[in-house]
């Protein structure tokens, strides 16, 4: 398949366009999307598909979500943009109490094919209301699938799968990554939900991560290599369903694991993954599974404070060295 260098944001536009051309039931709705969205992740859709399918919503997050739900259970397949992930709190009642539960509490009478797109993570010191990583809020709730790609190629393939899926999928796109370019297959293609990928094999220790920390983990591996440590990276890509098979098979070999995310360490997904590894491989592990995540403070504005709270490459290197001992 021929590839083309494009940004993460362009890759998502590509996936949406392929999907909308094939399926008239797909609509896109959100704030400012006819202008392309905050990060160009909807650029060009209005021009191709028109205002009937690309709907500018009022700044009414609950309505964006509940209108999507009403449309989804009556024959449409909405892709809803919530802009910044913090804004999902304004619709959390709809997301958690309605979207996630509709299929189950009505006994399987309906599916809920919605993709909820939201930009997360830090970017140029955007402060507390535009910097968070909230994946665990969605992953915790039965009935929601959650994906968090780390590069443009996965962004396209995972969004394609998310739109094709009959269940609600929360699609988290890291803000710093939106402009990052990478080779992306030009044709239509899918990355299946629930499949992790080994971004870098490594014999000594396994770093398990997703979204932009996957890129930081690869940088950390390069630094560790210079110190004679062969660290590998598993990029989870999907958080629900979670591909623990790949994680456990890999950690069974290395016997050392570090879980990394930009979300807060306390109660983060790292705790769940570390716990599952420990339950399955306690006797094989050489050291306790380490976790790297943000310190327990709202993300601060001032650059040195932001850097102090959010984990960087050096934090990953330090955690790996700690478990290797």
């Amino acid at each position: 398949m021929s590839t083309k260098r494009m940004s993460f944001g362009q890759a998502t536009v590509d996936a949406t366009r392929f999907a909308m051309r094939q399926d008239e039931r797909i609509i896109v709705l959100g704030e400012d999307i006819s202008w392309g969205g905050n990060f160009g992740q909807f650029r060009g859709l209005l021009e191709e598909f028109g205002p009937k399918r690309v709907i500018d919503m009022p700044i009414s997050e609950a309505a964006i979500m509940s209108v999507s739900l009403g449309a989804a259970v009556t024959g449409l397949r909405p892709v809803a943009s919530m802009s910044f992930v913090e804004f999902t709190f304004g619709a959390m009642d709809e997301i958690v109490n309605q979207v996630a539960k509709f299929r189950y509490m009505f006994g399987g009478q309906t599916s809920v094919p919605i993709v909820l797109r939201a930009s997360d993570g830090t970017m140029r010191c955007s402060a507390s209301h535009h910097s968070s990583s909230l994946e665990v809020r969605f992953a915790h709730m039965p009935g929601l699938k959650v994906v968090a790609p780390s590069n443009a190629a996965d962004a396209k393939g995972l969004l394609r799968s998310a739109i094709a899926d009959d269940d609600p999928v929360v699609y988290l796109e890291n803000k710093q990554m939106t402009a990052k370019r990478a080779p992306v297959p030009e044709d239509d293609y899918n990355v299946p939900l629930g499949s992790a990928t080994i971004a870098r094999p490594g014999r000594d220790v396994t770093i398990i991560t997703y979204s932009i920390p996957a890129l930081r983990a690869l940088e950390a591996c390069a630094q560790l290599e210079a110190k004679g440590i062969d660290a590998g990276v598993i990029d989870l890509r999907s958080l629900v369903p979670l591909d623990m098979t790949t994680v456990l098979e890999t950690v069974a070999q290395t016997r050392l694991a570090v879980v990394v995310h930009e979300a807060w360490r306390f109660g983060g997904l790292g705790a769940e993954i570390a716990s599952q590894i420990t339950e399955a491989l306690f006797k094989e592990l050489v050291a306790p599974v380490a976790r790297v995540g943000a310190a327990s403070a709202p993300i601060p504005f001032s650059p040195p404070l932001e850097a102090a709270v959010v984990p960087g490459v050096s934090d990953i290197v330090a955690a790996v060295e700690r478990v290797i001992g």
């Binding site: 009022p58 209108v67 739900l69 259970v73 009556t74 009642d93 709809e94 299929r103 399987g108 009478q109």
Partner: protein, 329 residues
Amino acid sequence: MATTLDGIPNEVALAIHRRMVRIRAFEEYVSELFLQGKLQGFVHTYIGQEAIAAGVCSLLDDSDYITSTHRGHGHAIAKGIHLNQIMAELFGNVTGACRGRGGSMHVADFSLGMLGANGIVGGGFGIAAGAALSAKYRGTNQVSVCFFGDGAINKGTFHEALNFAAVHDLPAVFICENNQYAQFTAGGRTTAVNDLAVRAASYNIPGVTADGNHAGEVYRAAHEALNRARAGRGPTLLNLLTYRFGGHYVGDAEVYRDKQEVEKRRALDPIPRWEQALNDARILSADEATTIWAATRQAVADAEQFAQDSPFPQADTALDWVFTEAADR
């Protein structure tokens, strides 16, 4: 014999009556079952408000959509879900409308356009608007009706959804069942306006107040709003004045209101009023009414028997339908 009662075709007037009776008989029976300890969970009855669900739903087709509330049995019955399926759902049986996953506050039948009773006050506004958007997008003649209580009118979702529905002239009707109480609290103590219909002005849509305890008035108000919606002229807010004869839920001690107030309002019971109107118009005799009540009470008792004879879901199915199974795709 006239063919219409103030513009309502006779057969429709009778159908409204039968639905009201079905709701009342079901709710009285279910209240008794709950007090006997035969039902788990919470039960919120629709007693006193029957004219609204019955009157509005007499104007809807199976393909039209409704959203309902925690007080949803009346809507489920009026939209045509079989009593057996509703009763079995209240018992948590696998034969229930939601195969026992939902219970009293989550009765639904998507094949009948009943998009669910809902345990979250104000949960239906946006869902109804979304169903209306979908109907408009697909170019059908369907309408979407959102039933909600006066307590829900102070939710932010009311504002968000009505604004959106109005901007897009969606085929939706928002029907406030103004039963005077938001849970335990009288509406006047927590709502800044007395006439809830005035809130329609914020969305540049009609706001109409009518007697929700008079099936004929409900029918006429809904008829106009639904015609407007089907004609592509956008949503309407209906403020239908009614009264909740029971407490917030069955077993509520009702410390927040006088018994006398309730007794006074019982004089406006919508069912005897409609029976009298039908009788005056020589559409329904007292004997015929008696027969309908007896047959309906029997159908409700039969529904309990159906539920009692039905199995619970198997424990090993507890995780079914969290996600769409590959086989369903």
